[in-house]
């Protein structure tokens, strides 16, 4: 009886934790979706993995990183 009660509370805890975490988890899943899959009206749990979003971010930060490196190199050359 006591064991059943404990496992019921544990289940309740996990359900609550997962509901609470869901938005962050969904963002994580969406980051691997293509634009169309991420904006589908019926939410897609299974989808083709697409790294286009990450690719865009890497492309966007590439240049400032090189500028930073050049600055550091310049400092060491002094």
């Amino acid at each position: 009886m006591k064991k059943t009660k404990a496992s019921l509370i544990t289940t309740f805890t996990w359900v609550l934790v997962l509901v609470f975490f869901f938005p962050v988890g969904w963002m994580f899943l969406n980051s691997f979706k293509s634009e169309n899959d991420a904006a589908s009206i019926v939410p897609k749990i299974f989808f083709d993995v697409d790294f286009a979003g990450f690719q865009r971010q890497v492309d966007a930060i590439q240049r400032p990183i090189f500028v930073g490196l050049a600055l550091v190199e310049g400092l060491f050359d002094l």
Partner: protein, 304 residues
């Protein structure tokens, strides 16, 4: 009056010298702090006395207290204070309740306890702007949002959250974000409670609810007070969910957003600066009261 020996006098001199040396060593940091925090504030006060609209660059001039008069007469200030207080209070109360629930549930020993704690803390760790964007598009959106998909699958009408229920939307997002903060403080409080006392209570025949009401809750009191004070200070400056989700409509125009609106949408630098100064004064009053209470709580905590 006591007579001082020459040796003692020279010792005093050395000590005095050391004090000045140590003070001068702090000086760079002090100057940096003053430059970074006080000069912008002085500049803001100066701006607040100017008649400066970015659309009329030719008409910059001294307006003296005209901006302050308009702050108090245009009638935007009071609704904004009400919105700020309302949003802060409801978010703090809800976060406290959920935080307490999570703290109690996660204080038990169960499978994957560490993982569950980590998952619950994440909303507090992600950027406020990112959190608002997740809720705006992935959760609350009328066509692609998950929540509306769930409600429509259950046969309920879909809700345009950020336009129909703007206040509730902002409060939900803030509660979601700040629950982990309250949970962390309350969990620390729960873990500092001695197990023997609880065991003794259960031996004496106290049920779970009575133990909680008469032993755990009084023990948690100081933790609740501290979390409420710190949470209120953080929530008073809330800006991101308002700017991203509701744009200040439907009674969600907090002081921070009002200031932003005057400066970057109204393009009236002078009036925005006046709002800023008034906000700082109001926040100072609230913060002084809050810190005094906090200090009292600490003193009482030491005597307990």
């Amino acid at each position: 009056m006591t007579a001082t020996t020459p040796a003692a006098a020279s010792m005093g001199k050395i000590a005095k010298k050391n004090v000045w040396l140590s003070r001068s060593l702090i000086l760079p940091a002090l100057i940096f702090g003053i430059v970074m925090t006080q000069i912008p504030f002085l500049v803001t006060i100066y701006f607040s006395l100017l008649n400066w609209n970015l659309l009329k660059p030719g008409e910059i001039g001294f307006a003296w207290f005209k901006n302050y008069v308009s702050v108090f007469t245009t009638g935007d200030l009071v609704p904004s204070i009400i919105a700020t207080v309302g949003i802060t209070t409801s978010a703090v109360v809800l976060s406290l309740l959920f935080g307490l629930l999570f703290a109690i549930l996660l204080d038990r020993n169960f499978r994957g306890q560490a993982l569950a704690r980590t998952l619950v803390i994440t909303p507090f760790l992600i950027m406020p702007a990112a959190a608002s964007l997740i809720w705006k598009y992935s959760m609350f959106d009328t066509s692609i949002g998950v929540i509306n998909w769930v409600t429509s699958s259950l046969g309920l009408p879909s809700i345009a959250w950020s336009t129909d229920l703007p206040l509730a939307t902002v409060i939900i997002v803030l509660t979601w974000q700040f629950t982990p903060f309250f949970m962390l403080i309350l969990l620390a409080g729960l873990q500092s409670q001695s197990r023997e006392v609880i065991e003794a209570a259960s031996v004496d025949g106290a049920g779970a609810f009575r133990t909680f009401q008469w032993m755990t809750l009084p023990h948690l009191r100081q933790y609740i007070e501290i979390s409420v004070l710190l949470g209120s200070i953080m929530l008073l400056q809330v800006f991101d969910p308002v700017a991203i989700m509701t744009k200040g409509t439907g009674g969600t125009k907090t002081l921070a957003y009002l200031l932003y609106e005057r400066a970057f949408i109204g393009l009236d630098v002078g009036q925005a600066a006046a709002y800023g100064v008034v906000t700082v004064v109001l926040t100072l009053i609230v913060a002084t009261i809050a810190l005094k209470t906090l200090f009292k709580v600490f003193m009482a905590g030491g005597n307990r």
